[in-house]
């Protein structure tokens, strides 16, 4: 298996975080499509449907939709149901606000780097140093087994 891989990222909010990645080339509204009381995505047909985002690192295109996103994520964070960090390609002003208020690290990656990540990867975020470390690449492990 290859060693840890590094993906360049721009720090928007926060600095350090670590956790298991949930990855999709999709957007999500954290109000209305996500339940802060459980941490689950409730939108049928969404790649994260019925998955729990609690303590996960969410790698996706970005946040869309409702302006309730910050209130919803803040509630999730209070109840310890919020993601550990977010990694987005498109940075919505509301995603930034939500992450500031909820103390969730937010990083921006380049579009072409999204494919470097896959669900199940273990990530370490080094926001201040401007990169994300893929400590354990799920895709490679799957290939080996």
């Amino acid at each position: 298996m290859n060693g840890p891989r590094i993906v360049k990222a721009e720090r928007i909010v926060g600095a350090e975080a670590g956790g298991v990645a949930l990855v999709a080339d999709e957007t999500l509204s954290f109000w209305g499509e996500f339940d802060p009381l459980t941490g689950k995505v409730i939108l049928p047909g969404h790649p994260f449907y019925d998955q729990n985002l609690r303590s996960k690192i969410i790698v996706m295109r970005g946040i869309k939709g409702s302006s309730g996103v910050e209130a919803s994520l803040r509630l999730a964070a209070m109840l310890k149901n919020a993601p550990a960090a977010m990694i987005n390609i498109d940075i919505d002003a509301l995603a930034v606000l939500a992450c500031v208020v909820s103390r969730i690290p937010l990083l921006k990656i380049r579009e072409e780097d999204l494919k470097s990540f896959s669900t199940g990867d273990i990530l370490k975020i080094h926001g201040d140093k401007g990169y994300i470390e893929i400590v354990h690449n799920n895709k490679l492990v799957l290939c080996m087994t």
Binding site: G32, I42, G62, K64, A71, D92, A93, V96
Partner: protein, 412 residues
């Protein structure tokens, strides 16, 4: 960020802990968004309700936390004209919708406590139809994803996308970070949308927004169309664009104030892309949100809230008819508009059919979880999208079709 001495004092806590928290929020937010300074706002539309539907089932401690925060905001007071977005609670239907009694009481207390604070608890998502009408260039801080594109695109006033914390901070401090759509360079069109199908109803404009929002996301689309919208069409367009996308601004060439011509809409630059919207795309958008007509149980109209013109129209469509047994018709509007409709007799005509008029709230929030599994028709793609996420079967059609689906055979 460059701060004035007063702003620095607030940040240091000399004006109280709540203002300090608000200042911390907007400075950290503004810094991340590359804002150079804070600017005064003259008009705020704030999300001012507890975490509401999301909180349904949360403990009393959590409910109490958010209630106390809102009370603290009221004590601090608003420094400029401030209206509030829809509440999560419908005071007329809370029992029927199994709303937590504490939350209902909290809401009533907030309304009482708001007097004299500068917070106008209008609880509607259409401040622009009830007298909040910022002029071109006016700096605003509007929350509510459907209001934001209306403010920027239709009124030509200026707001970034706001949520609860930032709009509350804007109200209490009278300040907002200067970035995004507040600056000329971030108001220029980015993607050209060539519409070559006739848009006949307001819901057709909603369909256009639903389809295009998925493709353009946070970017600013510019619509080129021969169809002429009315103001309600643009309400639908912005609402659905912001739901599937998240844009804060769009242009309609020849209609919206910052796009008198194609050249002006793009500030003389080339669009980043061109998308066609034709009959095929319109039909497929409706096709995605379709159900069998005989399975429809509930019809919901009023997302964004209906204005007086629409209530007049619905009263004409509904006059002399009855909502069929086993079906429901919900009409959502602002309190002020419902009062006017009562005086004019529209309300009586509508309620005589068995329809329910909901003010201050709307089904996407007040009925959270109550209608799971129901089959619903609505004229709004925004409402349709959020009802889908709540586990409903949903169809979106124009107002007349919606009403016909839940009414008995016409008897007039």
């Amino acid at each position: 960020m460059d701060l004035t001495s007063e702003e620095r004092e607030i940040l240091e806590g000399k004006h109280g802990a709540f203002r300090q928290m608000c200042m911390n929020w907007i400075i950290e937010w503004g810094t991340a968004m590359n804002a150079k300074r804070l600017v005064p706002v003259s008009n705020v539309h704030v999300l001012f309700s507890d975490q509401g539907n999301c909180i349904k089932g949360a403990g009393s401690e959590t409910i109490g936390f958010f209630y106390n925060e809102l009370m603290t905001a009221l004590k601090a007071g608003a420094r400029c004209f401030t209206t509030t977005d829809v509440s999560y609670i419908s005071d007329d239907f809370w029992e029927e919708l199994h709303t937590d009694r504490t939350q209902v009481e909290n809401n009533r207390n907030l309304l009482k406590a708001a007097l004299g604070t500068g917070f106008n608890m209008v609880w509607t998502c259409i401040p622009y139809f009830i007298g909040s009408f910022p002029l071109k260039g006016e700096i605003c801080a509007w929350a509510e994803s459907s209001c934001i594109p209306f403010c920027n695109s239709v009124l030509g006033a200026r707001t970034t996308r706001h949520s609860q914390a930032s709009s509350m901070a804007a109200a209490v401090l009278g300040l907002t970070p200067e970035f995004g759509e507040l600056l000329d360079e971030n108001r220029i069109g980015e993607i050209m949308i060539e519409v070559d199908v006739e848009l006949k109803t307001n819901t057709d404009w909603g369909a256009l927004g639903d389809y295009i929002g998925m493709l353009t996301g946070l970017k600013r689309p510019v619509f080129k169309t021969r169809s002429r919208p009315i103001v309600e069409s643009l309400s639908q367009l912005g609402a659905s664009l912001a739901t599937t996308g998240g844009t804060a601004m769009y242009h309609v060439i020849g209609i919206t104030p910052e796009a008198p011509t194609e050249d002006k809409a793009f500030d003389g630059k080339q669009p980043q892309g061109v998308v066609k919207f034709s009959k095929k795309e319109l039909e497929s958008t409706y096709q995605r949100l379709s159900v069998k007509k005989n399975e429809i149980e509930i019809c919901v109209l009023g997302c964004p809230h209906l204005n007086l013109k629409e209530l007049e129209w619905i009263s004409n469509l509904a006059d002399g008819r009855k909502v069929a047994v086993g079906k429901q018709l919900w009409i959502c509007t602002a309190y002020q508009i419902a009062c006017q409709a009562e005086k004019l007799g529209y309300r009586r005509l509508i309620e005589a059919t068995g329809a329910k008029i909901m003010v201050d709230s709307c089904p996407a929030v007040a009925c959270w979880g109550e209608w799971r599994g129901k089959t619903i028709i609505t004229d709004s793609f925004k409402q349709g999208r959020y009802l889908l996420a709540q586990g409903n079967e949903v169809a979106v059609r124009d107002v007349k079709t919606c009403i016909d689906c839940v009414m008995e055979v016409y008897k007039k």
